[in-house]
Symmetry: C2
Subunit: 444 residues, 2 copies
Amino acid sequence: MTIPSPGPFTGRTLDGLGRDLRSGRTTSAELTALALDAIAGGAELNAFVTVDAAGAAEAARRADEELAAGIDRGPLHGIPAGVKDLIMIAGMRVTMGSRHFAGHVADADAACVARLRRAGAVVVGTTTTHEFAYGPTGDRSAGGAARNPWDPSRMTGGSSAGSGAAVGAGLVPLALGTDTGGSVRIPAALCGAAGFKPAYGAIPADGVFPLSRTLDHVGVLAATASCCLLAYQALTGARLPEDPVGEVRVGWLEPGSLFPADPRVAAAARAAAGQVEGETRMAPEVLELFRETYLAIQSGETAAVHAGRLAAAPDLFDPEVLDRLRQAAELPAWRYVRALDARRELEEHAEALFGPYDVLATPTVPILAPPIGAREAEAGGERIQVRAALLGMTSPWNVLGRPALTVPAGLVDGLPVGLQLVARPGGEARLFAAARRTEAGGQG
Amino acid sequence: MTIPSPGPFTGRTLDGLGRDLRSGRTTSAELTALALDAIAGGAELNAFVTVDAAGAAEAARRADEELAAGIDRGPLHGIPAGVKDLIMIAGMRVTMGSRHFAGHVADADAACVARLRRAGAVVVGTTTTHEFAYGPTGDRSAGGAARNPWDPSRMTGGSSAGSGAAVGAGLVPLALGTDTGGSVRIPAALCGAAGFKPAYGAIPADGVFPLSRTLDHVGVLAATASCCLLAYQALTGARLPEDPVGEVRVGWLEPGSLFPADPRVAAAARAAAGQVEGETRMAPEVLELFRETYLAIQSGETAAVHAGRLAAAPDLFDPEVLDRLRQAAELPAWRYVRALDARRELEEHAEALFGPYDVLATPTVPILAPPIGAREAEAGGERIQVRAALLGMTSPWNVLGRPALTVPAGLVDGLPVGLQLVARPGGEARLFAAARRTEAGGQG
């Protein structure tokens, strides 16, 4: 799995970088300079919106001073990181990928950025987001589409498009994203990175521009599941056992029961999952209820965020985003209320679906990264909608707020495939244990 | 304040009835027979939908046996009570005042009915509700309008219309109601009874047919505030101090800042409130936010309850209810989501409005009971909508879930006026202390 143009962090783990920093083989200043150079050199990917070279250099200098003085903030100390362009960074331009906020400067750090800094990481800049995070393709943003490092004519997936591109291309070893229906996992999968959407609320969303408040999750993108785990622990204070947690039962969730899948993609993910304890399927009526519930909750909450702008300055929206927002604004309230009820019902369906398994495995995305701008594609002999396909495997786990992870699962036609692993509530230790057990998790 | 046709429980308190029961001056069987006779004799009021004479007689017999055996369930022991016709009573016909449920028999007791029975009360029957509780006038119900015992050509108010008529006419000394925007307090006030809407959730709503789940409150109607307090304590296990709880600061909330009021009604309520510590006003923009928030939450939640019936059998609804449901079904979801936000904002506005006061006093309803069927009226020289007027003083306290009480405040033109008292969260003891202090609370 070799990327055409490797970056300075391609093949590097947070663990390895941390060892190099502490052994004196490198410095945060050096890593940060590598990142800044690579970002400049990889400009065609459009992974970053705003780069704070001076601020990053200063933060790296402090990180190095602290390490030299014996102050060690842990695994993220001195690590350069990108932050999605709708997560507030004090004093920086944060645009939400929108012309509405073209000149917007955040006045305070989001909670997750404050935690990132406390953990010693070096914020190098903001990464491209699909406009207002409202789209899983990552190709509609005020600053233009992010481009897939494995083939720049293809989309990164989104909405954390630049975070996926930046980590996938090895420009930075770590990035923050947000995930409302798959927006961390989709670009991670399509760009060859790992990505973790923790349980709802595990990383607080304060200071993150909302898309859909009961579905929005803050997550992390990095090279491997183990890197994601380090970052997750650093950002939450969670401590998961690194040793086996006893038997972990993994079930293969038949992807076709969620969405028509490219058989090559399904096969690659299945191979990466390795030996599993069994297979399961989502019943069509449960799938339909997941889809309706996701759409209703997201539509109502997103339209509430943008009602003022929709009325006052609709022309500043990207036309596709505008069209979707207008549809969302028409959803009747009673459907939203029903969806809140359905959520409780879906908890029970999910319990039945998990059955004897601790972790369910699927492809993260059932298709390969489509060309930028594509809205229709083919999968499994069917004509499919690209947005629906991208979200098809991921969005149910936002409805339920369950922890979900994507890990690289090899290449098909030279493009990355992701394996998604989903846990029960509180099942993070088993989730990462399952990742270590898979073919995919064993690489990295 | 003498009603034209007094009933057997006119002028009787739960306390007095309890003394008579325990001294042997009466029995539950006798009280129940009085209630059943009065209900039959007062049929023109249409206060009751279904009467369970045999079940009530049997429950009364058991209550008497228990008392004779020294088993005393407290202040409701042996007391005949009416239950609004959308609160489930096992084995009884419960119709929601709707042709959709004309033959519906409940299979289990609602939680509040189970508590009522455990407290020893005797359920005599179901009381008329406005269809699906969706209206404060009480004059649209499958079994016809309830009629005001002070003038049967006038409405009772609703939606707990029959509970108001039954207690106001002295047919029973106690009734259960539900209050989503004022549906306990409005009919209590217009029929000359006291009515208490406890804090949200204080009496569980399980087994109550929903109108708007985050606004629905179960409450009680009885002759006086003290009777309501006895019933509330019996149904919740709450124990409030009967002695003064220190100084209780009452503020007069200028009714005109909520809705145009009949000046005679306002004056009667103000007189009943007695000496107050000061006056306050609701700002127009806060009022507007209360109105919008109430309407959005109720519309979304109510339409969610009835969406299936609206699609499948619209003609079974009363035409006015149908028209309102269809409007409610069109409310966009984003307005509901915004309303949930506004609710939090309104908490802060309410704190400012209460300011130094523990309890706010207003008229319960700003007008006298209008003729049955009336939808427009005059108040303070303005043409007003009857539904909006009825709800004008009461609905804000449902948005916030605050405890609110109405007590009789005399007559204007031979029709009852209510004084509403509203407390801060947790302020029940001060609320009832304020009621005892008022002119109104001192009577009864």
